[in-house]
């Protein structure tokens, strides 16, 4: 009985924590955008505006829900769940910290540990594209359809570079288990994959921006051309689900970057650190990449669509392939 309880407790804690973090990200997005534009940002709801996400949530719940004429009623309802679900599923394998004792049982602070966890993240987060394209198609609106098409084209083409960059890390540590990848980076700062695979790091980082449809690759939304992109016709909590999905995907991608290249929960020069220090380290590393998402969004203008595709197929894919090849060659030779 206890293992099941421990599992439930872990799921509840991690899931709740990530959803709270996603809500915090919506506030952080507005705060950072304000700071970069010399403004203050939301500061009326609660101290420093910290309760703003709560107010937003209440607003979303009470908004009128519209389903456009001619929309496919089943798929229209299904799409937001398909967009948010896979992103949340990917949380399951992320190693937030090492050993921890829950209800008297030693366990690790991640919902599931299994040998193919890196593959699982890639597989599950790849499903997110279904929500986007179904949302775009089922709305019966040209803007939504174009937005959905663009988003899926972009996600599919950047996923290749993402996976190949991940592959060179996997080749380095010889395992698809995220725990093993973290262990391989234990020790000092110089053990991080960031220094051993700088090109893969760069490619992975760029691909995460494209995967989560963030600036400067946010062609899914692209307000001036496509109104709101694939979620133009959505309102109320359905729209909020797309939003939550996007932010959770950002959190997943940021924590994946931290895990693969910055050693995840591993504390540099302190191998026996207690779990809360590891968790804090992990959150710090993830937090930096989350901030980078916002920081880049308010710095760079959007690409042109053909530039985006050119970058993905003609630059990033060959570089990633080359990187995997050279990594494999070096590993097999030495």
């Amino acid at each position: 009985m206890t293992p099941v309880l421990v599992m439930l407790l872990k799921t509840l804690l991690i899931f709740g924590g990530v959803i709270t973090l996603a809500a915090g990200m919506t506030l952080a997005e507005r705060k950072v955008s304000a700071w970069i534009q010399w403004r203050i940002g939301p500061n009326r709801v609660g101290p420093w505006g910290t309760l703003q996400p709560l107010a937003d949530g209440v607003k979303f719940v009470f908004k009128e829900e519209l389903i456009p004429d001619g929309a496919n009623p089943l798929l229209f309802r299904l799409a937001p769940m398909l967009a948010a679900g896979p992103a949340m599923m990917a949380i399951a394998v992320i190693p937030f910290a090492g050993e921890i004792t829950l209800l008297g049982q030693p366990t690790t602070l991640s919902i599931a540990d299994f040998p193919l966890s890196a593959l699982y993240v890639v597989a599950v987060s790849g499903l997110g594209v279904y929500g986007v394209i179904l949302g775009g198609w089922s709305s019966n609106s040209k803007y939504s359809l174009l937005g959905g098409l663009r988003a899926s084209a972009q996600m599919v083409s950047y996923e290749l570079a993402l996976i190949l960059a991940l592959l060179s890390v996997v080749v380095m540590s010889g395992s698809l288990d995220l725990r093993k990848i973290v262990e391989a980076q234990a020790g000092g700062l110089l053990q991080w994959n960031l220094w051993r695979q700088p090109l893969a790091f760069l490619l992975f980082l760029l691909a995460t921006f494209a995967e989560t449809n963030r600036h400067p690759f946010d062609f899914a939304e692209c307000e001036p051309e496509l109104v709101g992109g694939f979620h133009t016709e959505y309102s109320s909590m359905k729209f909020a689900l797309f939003f939550i999905g996007e932010y959770v995907a950002m959190i997943v991608m940021a924590s994946m970057t931290a895990t693969l290249f910055l050693g995840g929960p591993e504390v540099p020069y302190w191998p026996a650190a207690p779990w809360f220090v590891q968790l804090a380290t992990f959150l710090l590393k993830t937090g930096f990449f989350l901030f980078l998402f916002l920081w880049v969004r308010w710095t760079l203008p959007r690409f042109r669509f053909d530039q985006l595709m050119g970058l993905g197929w003609k630059v990033m894919l060959p570089l990633a392939l080359l990187n995997v090849f050279v990594t494999g060659l070096v590993i097999s030779l030495f």
């Binding site: 970069i36 534009q37 403004r39 308010w298 760079l300």
Partner: protein, 174 residues
């Protein structure tokens, strides 16, 4: 015909990433800059004598009767047709005063022409800028809402006399 000469990009610029890092460093520095937001209901706008707010009517020193003699010059000068005046005669030394003096604040564009047109220095642009109500009718201000003691407008009056000093001849009522 305009020939646009494209700047030849250096290698670093064509690689794009160094420029991205430069842009990021600029936005990072901006985060710590002093914020320009004015927290409106708590922090009011600083007004000076130059501020052209809503026009107000000056009361004479007895604080009861208006300096206005309802000549209608402001009504004629108003480019937005915001002013409506009906005059009447009185028993006091200045023989005329407005029976009705209304400014439609929804039409008023705060241009200050009424202030310039007035031969009796009876209307001045105050520093009052806030305008909100629940109906259009409530925003057509009558004499009761427009009249102000001279002291309330003194800053503006002094400023106005200052810039018009060269050709101003003090009117008999001021």
């Amino acid at each position: 015909m305009v020939i646009v000469k494209r700047k030849q990009l250096s290698l670093a610029e064509r690689l794009y990433l160094p420029e991205v890092v430069r842009a990021l460093s600029i936005t990072l520095r901006v985060i710590f800059k002093k914020k320009v937001t004015r927290q409106y209901p708590e922090e009011r706008m600083v007004t000076t004598a130059v501020t052209r707010g809503q026009p107000r009517l000056v009361l004479l020193d007895d604080n009861k009767s208006l300096a206005c003699v309802s000549c209608g010059l402001c009504e004629a000068a108003c480019p937005a047709y915001a002013i409506t005046i009906d005059g009447e005669e009185t028993e006091r030394f200045i023989e005329r005063e407005p029976k009705r003096f209304e400014i439609d604040m929804l039409r008023c564009i705060l241009c200050g022409f009424c202030e310039e047109a007035c031969p009796k220095d009876a209307i001045f642009m105050s520093d009052e800028l806030e305008l909100a109500d629940f109906s259009r009718q409530a925003l057509i201000y009558d004499i009761d809402k427009l009249k102000r003691p001279r002291a309330a407008l003194q800053k503006r009056i002094d400023y106005f006399y200052g810039i018009n000093d060269r050709w101003r001849k003090r009117s008999s009522t001021s």
